[in-house]
């Protein structure tokens, strides 16, 4: 179905609830509805199998409008339908929950209630997800009148009370500091012997307040801030942001720049999946594969360093184009690295699908059917391993993917083995795409001039990160900085499936199940700055700037 017919259908489905439609962009439908109609409108979309809930954007429209805005974004192919709800700007207005229809909404609703202070009626879990335990009640960081003084720490409240002991069940905590999790998340698994009977999680240990911080920085500064959301898929965030802002500013990025962005995105996917392969193998206790895959990952890391000068935050994207050009020498280096990597990846694909002792730990473990994947709202390779055909690069091609399409990789079984298979095959596809783009790199400019101010408006930009769809909602008031930036990273959508599928499995399978969705904690956590009383570690922006200038002067002197 084309995007137009999809939007047409959505208009028809939502007609009974609509209080006014608009088409802000060619692929978007905006429907204003009443809060009380939300569950019915969601049910109507779900029953006609129109799309999946991609994100919820909570916004405070400010004192003048005196309204809170909550937007529910549903995506199907390239089409996006947004249900826009306006709520009174009082303390804790009500909005009905849709978690009973869409399990993943539970995370979004928790974020909504703790960040914007909306009372979600009937949400299954209203405990804190992101905010710290000692955050005062009734202080909502996304409200316009929020100031950091309001967030003075209070007596910590226990967000996750100990799960009751029933018979010989007890709780095994994993994280925030645990050898299995090198990243800060907290999980509690109730176990009966070795069998998992319950699972819960808590995020927010590395919340940095990035969404809020973007509103205080200009468009260009934000590029570097957003790059630091994630250490693995940093390029994903800059490209999603740059694409959105370029759309708003109506700047056409040169073909060559788009192609170079896609090469870097492909290399990033290669390094991310190889990293994941090592981690997942380590969780299974197969350290040899871990060491081998990380050794080979160095090839692509070195390549990225050669091309961009950095290993992690490549910083190659600028608004309106890219910073660095690729030469013939670079393409030779890329081809050489791809030769090596393709051979290794084929070998790993062979290992993960044939090694008997490894298959004992992956085959038939955590099996997720196509229906379950849809129901839980899984994204990325996790979804594709269950046969769900969901890939933004194919559904809604962006940038250079118009000219250099990638092929969709899916598997049928939905178990851990299928996730290994899908990721390894995706690596081969990425290698192939990188080669194709390098060989057919369009000639032209690297970047075009970008205005300091971006015209008022809002846009949605979606990018396929290595872990699945990354969702950016960008709103400009016509000034030098965004008025609202909402980021939803793929890991947040995959938690529901990982936690639900762990129940009934053995404790020994849990690290594998968590690793199976390739979680990325830093991207989940974005929004809060915490300042404690008499904390000498808190430094202001100007102090930071002075410190930086001094430091660089020192470095220059020593050189």
């Amino acid at each position: 179905m084309t995007t137009e017919t999809l939007l047409q259908r959505a208009t028809e489905i939502l007609a009974p609830f609509s209080k006014g439609n608009s088409n802000p962009e060619a692929n978007r439908l905006d429907v204003n509805i009443e809060a009380s109609d939300l569950p019915a409108a969601t049910a109507a979309l779900l029953s006609s199998e129109w799309g999946y809930l991609s994100a919820i954007t909570p916004t405070d429209l400010g004192k003048e409008v005196n309204k809170l805005e909550v937007i529910y974004h549903f995506c199907e192919g390239a089409a996006i339908t947004s249900l826009r709800i306006h709520l009174p700007r009082e303390d804790q207005p009500d909005i009905p929950s849709i978690s009973d229809q869409i399990p993943v909404a539970s995370f979004f609703e928790r974020e909504l209630s703790e960040m914007l202070g909306v009372h979600v009626v009937g949400t299954p879990d209203s405990s804190r997800l992101f905010l710290p335990d000692d955050w005062p009640n009734g202080v909502y960081p996304l409200r316009e009148d929020f100031s950091i003084e309001q967030a003075a720490p209070v007596e910590p409240r226990e967000t996750l009370p100990e799960m009751g002991r029933v018979g010989n069940k007890f709780t095994v905590p994993i994280g925030p500091q645990h050898p299995a999790l090198k990243e800060p998340g907290h999980f509690e698994f109730a176990v009966d012997g070795e069998i998992i009977t319950g699972a819960r999680m808590r995020l927010g240990y590395v919340h940095r307040g990035i969404e809020k911080a973007t509103e205080q920085r200009n468009w260009i500064q934000n590029l570097y801030l957003l790059e630091r959301i994630c250490g693995i898929c940093s390029h994903t965030h800059t490209s999603a942001y740059a694409m959105g802002v370029e759309k708003l500013a109506q700047v056409d990025v040169p073909q060559r720049a788009q192609a170079i962005r896609e090469i870097v995105a492909g290399l990033e996917r290669v390094h991310s999946h190889l990293l994941w392969l090592g981690v997942a193998a380590h969780e299974a206790g197969f350290d040899t594969l871990f060491m081998y895959s990380w050794r080979d990952r160095e090839t692509v890391m070195d390549l990225l360093e050669t091309l961009t000068g950095n290993r992690v935050n490549y910083s190659i994207t600028v608004l309106g184009g890219v910073k660095y050009d690729f030469t013939a020498e670079h393409s030779r280096a890329i081809h050489k690295a791809m030769d090596y990597l393709e051979e290794r990846i084929r070998y790993y694909l062979h290992i993960v699908t044939t090694d008997a002792s490894f298959l004992q730990r992956t085959r038939g473990i955590g099996t997720m059917s196509l229906e379950e994947a849809k129901h839980f709202g899984a994204l990325g390779p996790t979804a594709r391993a269950s046969g769900l055909e969901r890939d933004v690069r194919i559904d809604s091609p962006y940038g250079a993917y118009h000219h250099f399409p990638v092929s969709l990789i899916t598997a049928e079984n939905g178990d851990l083995e299928a996730r290994f298979e899908v990721r390894m095959k995706e690596l081969l596809v990425s290698c192939f795409t990188i080669r194709t783009i390098v060989d057919n790199l369009p000639a032209g400019e690297l970047a075009v001039r970008f205005p300091r101010k971006v015209p008022a408006g809002e846009t949605i930009s979606r990018v396929e990160a290595p872990r699945g769809e990354a969702f950016y909602y960008i709103k400009s008031g016509g000034g030098e900085s965004p008025t609202r930036l909402k980021i939803r990273t793929p890991s947040l959508c995959n938690w529901t499936s990982a936690l639900n599928k762990s129940i009934g499995h053995q404790l020994a399978d849990v690290p594998m199940l968590i690793a199976g969705m390739d979680p990325c904690f830093s991207c989940n956590d974005r929004m809060i700055t915490v300042r404690r009383k008499n904390d000498s570690q808190t430094i202001s922006w100007s102090q930071m700037r002075e410190y930086g200038i001094k430091k660089y002067a020192e470095i220059r002197e020593t050189k």
């Binding site: 007890f170 709780t171 095994v172 905590p173 645990h178 050898p179 299995a180 176990v191 070795e194 193998a281 380590h282 969780e283 299974a284 206790g285 197969f286 350290d287 040899t288 060491m291 081998y292 050794r295 090694d355 002792s357 490894f358 004992q360 730990r361 053995q506 404790l507 020994a508 399978d509 849990v510 690290p511």
Partner: protein, 307 residues
Amino acid sequence: MSVLASLLSLMFFPAGISLILSGMLYEWADRKLVARFQNRIGPRWFQPLADTIKLLSKEEIKPHSAHNLLFYGLPIVALSGALTAALYTPILGFSPIYSFQGDLIVALYLLSLLTMCTGLAGWNGASRFSLIGATRSLTQLFAYEAPFLLALLGPAMAAGTWTIKDISAYAGNHWMFLAQPVGFVVALIGLMGKLELPPFDAPEAETEIVAGALTEYSGRGLALFHIGKSVELVVAISLVTAFYLGGIGNPLIFLLKTLIILLFMAMLQSMLTRLRIDQTVGMWWRFGALLALLQILVIVLLKGWLS
């Protein structure tokens, strides 16, 4: 004089200092081999010694709820069990210094003492990770112990004696790993289970339960457990080598044989994925125990037929 000799043998050779040092060297060899298989550089030769010295000099932290005597006593019992077992074992191809009818059983139980102590220590540690680790350690003990014992019983039955010294002497004239190949394989893999080496490292799977039963141990206690384990490695390898690879003999050749076994074990360690505890138990009782029993049956029948 005999008192002095006993003391010397207890303190220096074959038990005591030399055993502990050789345990560390074997541990180093194992770590180095696995590292090379995994494309890593691996530790320097004195790393296990350095680790031990570091651990011994560190503070020992005891959980509040742990029983005092058990907490401090268990590492000592575990280590002394492993050291005592060495007295009945042909370490480095030398004839064992003590021996009596049935010492095979005693030696094997002394070796199991380490696992039992680990289990108890985990239960005493009062941490959830150590409790699960202890349960897994003891569950695994029940899985490999019987097949391992049966695998060592094969040579004993062939030799017609329960004394390690006599079995080793008999094995010196008969290449047991050719005569009883199934028993040899079961013994080798049982050895890995006993030492909780990968793929049988579920009791200390760091990605699930941190360090398993020993999670709460630090400093001296942890060092003693570690030494105990490397001593057990030497004793158990020596036992299997003496029984299956040509008995007591030239120390150099004996050393070489043990190193071949170590090489083989290191290969298995780096090639296999960790088994879940249910898979470990299933594997041992479905295949290990049956194969070992089959071997015993063949020996019994052959002996009856020959006589």
